[in-house]
Every structure is written in C-alpha cells, then in structure tokens.
Symmetry: C2
Subunit: 238 residues, 2 copies
DNA sequence: GGACGTTAAAGGTCAGACGTTTTATGTCTC
DNA sequence: GAGACATAAAACGTCTGACCTTTAACGTCC
C-alpha cells in the first residue's frame, strides 16, 4: 500500500509545540521562570532527554533562556528577533529595511489608527521630548523606539509590527557600536510631530513621506560618522 | 572576587555554533546529507545526547531536517524563513510587508544595480513572459518570484534580500489557500517591464512607484477574491 | 548584622540500551 | 531475467540512570 503512513509525529516535536503554546498563550509570561525539568518530565510523561531536546530548541530560538543552578526563563514569544540577530547585519542595511517598514507602517496607520492610538502616540512623543530636554540618552532611546513601535502596531498589520519589534535589538546592537565613536546624534523634534499630524489627518502620503524623512536623518548621521574615517577598515566594523 | 567568571560557555552552544558554521559556510550544502550522529559524536568528542540537543535546535530553526532511518539533511542557511512561518500571518499582512520591501528594493536597486544584474533581470522577465504564454502556472510563479528575488539581491542589502527570501514560503502558503477559490490571477506584463526600464534608467522614484503598483495588482486580486464572499467567515480563513 | 561555609536544587554532560523507520541487500519464484 | 518478497544493516528516536557544575538559600559564627 502507498498509504503515506500514519506519520506518527516525532515526540519531541509534540513537546516543543506544547511548550511553545505555553509561551505564546502567555500562560508562561515573559521574564517568568518555567517549571523545572523534573516537573515537566512528569507532567508531559517523557524522558528527560526528550524534554531537554525540546527546551534546547526553544532556547536556541530565543524563546527561553536557561541558567544552570537556577532555572529556565521565558525570553520572547516568537523567534523573529533571534533569527534576525543571527544574520549579523550591517547597520546601514538595518536602517534601510527599517525605513521601508517605517514608511509602510505610517501609511497604513494613517488609514487605520484609532483615537486611542493617537492619544498613546501623543503621550510617547511628550516622553520623548522630555527625555531629550533632560539629555537622558537611555530614556530618549526608549521613548523614541516606543513611539515608532506604537506606529507599527497602529498599522494593524501584525507581521509588520512583529518584524519591526524584532529589528529593534539588531538596530540597537549595531547602533551602540557606532554611538561612542560619534556621540549622541541630533534628534529631530519636528519630524515626529509632523508624522503624528499626518496620522491625525489620515494623510497617508504625508505620513509615509514624514516617516521616510525621519529615517533619513539617522542615515545621514550614520553616513557622516563613517565619512570621518577615510578608510572603512579603520572603524570597528569589517 | 567579582570577576564575571570565566563563563565557560555551555558545551551544547559550542556544538550548535560549529554545526551552524558548516551550514552557513556552505561546506554542508543545502539539500545535502550531513554526517551521521555516530560520526559527529566522534569528530566533536561529545556525547550523543549533547549532539542531539544541538541538531534538534537547528532542526527546529529550520536549518536541518532529520529523517528517521535515513539521515539528516540541510534545509536552509538561516532561520529567518522558519521564524516567519511560525508567525502564521494573514496573506493580506504578508502582501503589505512585501510591498514595503519590494518598493525599497526597487529604489535601492535603481541606484546600485550592475549591467550583469540588468541582464539577469532581462532573462528572468523573458522566462516569466514565456511561462505566461504557455499558461504554465508553476513555471510562471517560479519565474516571477525569481525576478523579484533578483531585484532584492540587486538592492545590495543582504538583510533586505534575506527577508524577502524568507517571506516567500509564507506568501506561497497563504496564496495557495486562496488560489483555487478564485483561480489564477491576471498577471501584469507591463508593470514588470516598466520596473526594469526604471532600473535601467536609474530612476529611483519611478522604480519604487512601479514596484508598489505591481503589488497593488496582487492585493486587488486578493481583495476581489474576498469581496465575492459577503461573509468573511464563509472563506477558509479564520 | 554581616561574612562565611554548607547544602539542596536546578540545569549540563555522559554512558548504554532498546525501539522504529528507512534503505539496501539478497534470495526466491515465475 | 525480472519482479516480489524476506532479511539485515544503518540511521534517527526514546528511555533510564548516573554524575558533574553552578546557583541560590539557609544557617552558623564572629
């Protein structure tokens, strides 16, 4: 017979799926500690080796983090960020991708954003401006990223939002390598307010244009930083 | 002492890294079979359980595929496609993200594409047209995707290109679910030729506009397919 | 109350055994 | 000689049990 066989799925895959479901469902919240290996082997009725293969898969994927002698913790709810970081991309490349996503997020958000979304953006922009005045770099980075992230969420596109989130760590990692060489780059106040106005007005074209312009500013800073070094090999990259 | 300890990395992580290096370097080519567990345990000097944890991590990541009784094969060189597919995105969301990446790829390619790149695009477009005339759906899909992929590569942005590639399976998967409901959608001959012209001319704005217009056509097809069903719940999607 | 040593518990690694599936081999029959 | 079948080898899948390493909590001592 050519019956494609009952294809009794591999046990480890079942375990992976069940552990992953606990994470994605939020029953195991990010930052929390999951049950011990002993407990899980009993609950799931599998050998420790099988369970360890499953957890190791999720650890590599970036969903879990194991600490010997302590326990295993939840780190993320999807594997996107981990996958992107393993690509080890150049900052310039990350910025170009972010520019594309940013513009599209702005465009879509201009059509779909809700009053609540607009209010949230208002608050984040105020935080961002406040941090800038206090010269608090970390707070500014947080607020700035939260603002962009909120725009991505307001796009109503889950994939776009997830991608944007996942790009964050790679961006910060690359950025940090350049930051101390060149210093804190000048933040563009007006650009973000212009974007917010466009979203409020539902002006898709202006929103996209404004978002692109904001990224351009960062790219300009990045280009300038490199222009100071005549030889690319003189920097930390490469 | 507060010396952050020698941080003797976990053995499994070393193994994962070494296996992954074999894949990313191309020493283990995609589609090929990797050495058996017995051989690897000897080469690496680790227990079978440790090796299995490593391979399991790469299997879940989508880099490897194990077949009981046969062997383990290389499936991909990075974990992006696997990560994106686990998000289980809506087709509409995938199309919107692809639109953003497509336009950006076209814009960048218009600045950076080489004569060889242009020649390659010429050939792919001819293949695409030929498949269309022969009413060969599979060949057309392949050629169409290869064309877009080539544009992404011509952008000179590795991250953008990788993302585009990784989006492919998710796109095809979603698309297949809709295809038979609505039939093969009308392909736009002129749009792609217009894009190629813009690239040849180095016209970034026109290239981006053309790319966006091409995606719009697919989105229109997708929208129409849903418009035929008055109740969204009447379709296969959730 | 703080410094220190002890100890229990958690994850990390190793070893060996057996099960299940696939592929290749070899034999038998027509 | 070609095809069908039975057999055996090889590969991944799972289980059991032991021991190591690291961490955190506890308790003791000064």
């Amino acid at each position: 017979m050519t019956l494609p066989s009952v294809r009794r799925s591999v046990l480890v895959d079942d375990v992976i799926q069940r552990l992953r479901a606990e994470i994605t469902s939020g029953r195991w919240p990010v930052g929390g500690r999951i049950p011990t290996e002993t407990a899980l082997t009993e609950q799931l009725g599998v050998a420790r080796g099988t369970l360890r293969e499953a957890t190791r898969a999720l650890i590599h994927a970036g969903l879990l983090q194991a600490r010997q002698g302590d326990g295993t913790y939840v780190r993320a709810t999807n594997e996107l960020a981990g996958a992107i970081q393993r690509l080890d991309s150049e900052l310039a490349d990350v910025l170009e991708v972010r520019e594309a996503l940013d513009a599209q997020a702005a465009r879509l958000a201009a059509e779909r954003i809700t009053p609540q979304g607009l209010a949230a953006l208002d608050g984040l922009l105020a935080e961002r401006a406040d941090a800038w005045q206090r010269r608090d770099r970390d707070a500014w980075v947080r607020a700035d990223h939260a603002f962009h992230q909120a725009v991505a969420v307001a796009s109503g596109n889950a994939l776009l939002s997830d991608l944007y989130t996942a790009l964050g760590p790679a961006l910060r990692r690359s950025m940090a390598a350049h930051w101390d060489e060149r210093g804190f780059h000048g933040a563009d106040h007006r650009g973000h307010e212009d974007l917010l106005d466009a979203l409020r007005a539902g002006d898709t074209a202006r929103a996209a244009r404004s978002a692109a312009a904001n990224i351009d500013a960062t790219q300009g800073w990045h280009r300038d930083a490199h222009a100071t070094a005549p030889e690319p090999s003189a920097t930390t990259e490469g």
